[in-house]
């Protein structure tokens, strides 16, 4: 029996012998590991809190039409907000939102 056949047999044996709930829990744990960060809404709340302004999302329509803006926004909300970005100037204090996005993504990545 080859190592590949042994592997398949071992997987089938494990799945046959293990309660479904136990396997499901392990898979859920991996999902949590992969996707367990804050939700988008939680990130936005954090951002609003961090930037101390109610209209942070006002800059969103300005970037919605540009692929690189979308990418920057998605990247920004996908990563945890590092402490140094909390003190970052709000978008309205920058000359244009492109600078904001570039710098923010750079800081956050």
């Amino acid at each position: 029996m080859s190592h590949l056949e042994k592997s398949l047999e071992a997987l089938r044996g494990y799945l046959d012998a293990t309660p479904r709930a136990e396997v499901a829990a392990l898979i859920a744990k991996i999902d949590q590991q992969a996707f367990g960060g804050p939700t988008v809404n939680q990130y936005l709340t954090q951002l609003n809190d961090a930037l101390r302004m109610d209209s942070w999302l006002d800059c969103w329509p300005a970037v919605a039409g540009r692929p690189e803006g979308n990418w920057g926004f998605q990247k920004l909300i996908k990563v945890k907000i590092p402490s140094d970005i909390v003190a970052y100037p709000s978008p309205s204090r920058l000359e244009n939102e492109e600078d904001f996005l570039e710098t923010s993504v750079c800081e956050a990545a």
Binding site: S7, Y14, P38
Partner: protein, 186 residues
């Protein structure tokens, strides 16, 4: 199986530090934007110095070093999703087994499959054969990448072959016996 691997990393610490400590692990944490394609591990481009330089220019803003190493794997240590139809069929069967029992959905990613199988292997010593590999090799077929060169088989058809494919090797553990003759390329 033997090939040359190119691992691009930050220049931090300088060549001596990188030579002594590279390769560096790529973690699997989507919440932090870390999504290595084949799960957590030590990544190499398969014999592709050009792509390693491109990666350094784009991802490390030109402040990078490249570790070049001879990668050697004994029979059964590498799951080869590039050059072995047997390994590809095996991996499909593993996936189908999990699909048929309802544990995963059809759109499950390779990275997550690998993470799951490795955790099953680690979590149950009695299942020592479950996912016995030290590394996995796969090709990224996306066409958006750097310097992809589609070459048509014949002019009358659209069928083509990529002569400069982006092949990735992910080692799950950093073992010296799999990493031979390391050197720094600048």
């Amino acid at each position: 199986m033997q090939t040359v691997g190119h691992h691009t990393c930050k220049r931090d610490g300088g060549p001596e530090f990188v030579l002594a400590n590279a390769p560096f692990i790529a973690e699997y944490k989507e919440a932090e934007g870390k999504l290595p394609f084949l799960g957590e591990g030590y990544y190499f481009w398969d014999d592709n110095l050009d792509l390693a330089h491109h990666w350094g220019r784009v991802h490390y803003r030109n402040k990078y070093l490249i570790l070049e190493a001879d990668l050697q794997f004994d029979e059964g240590e590498l799951l080869d999703l590039v050059g072995s139809r047997r390994d590809m069929r095996y991996f499909q069967e593993l996936r189908n087994e999990l699909l048929a029992r309802g544990f995963i959905q059809g759109d499950w990613e390779i990275s997550k499959m690998v993470e799951l199988l490795r955790k099953l292997q680690q979590g149950s010593p009695s299942q020592g054969h479950l996912f016995p590999f030290l590394a996995i090799r796969a090709v990224d077929h996306s066409m958006a990448g750097h310097n992809q060169i589609p070459a048509k088989f014949v002019s009358e058809r659209d069928n083509f072959v990529l002569v400069n494919p982006r092949i990735i090797v992910c080692m799950f553990e950093k073992k010296e016996r799999n990493l031979c003759l390391k050197r720094i390329v600048e």
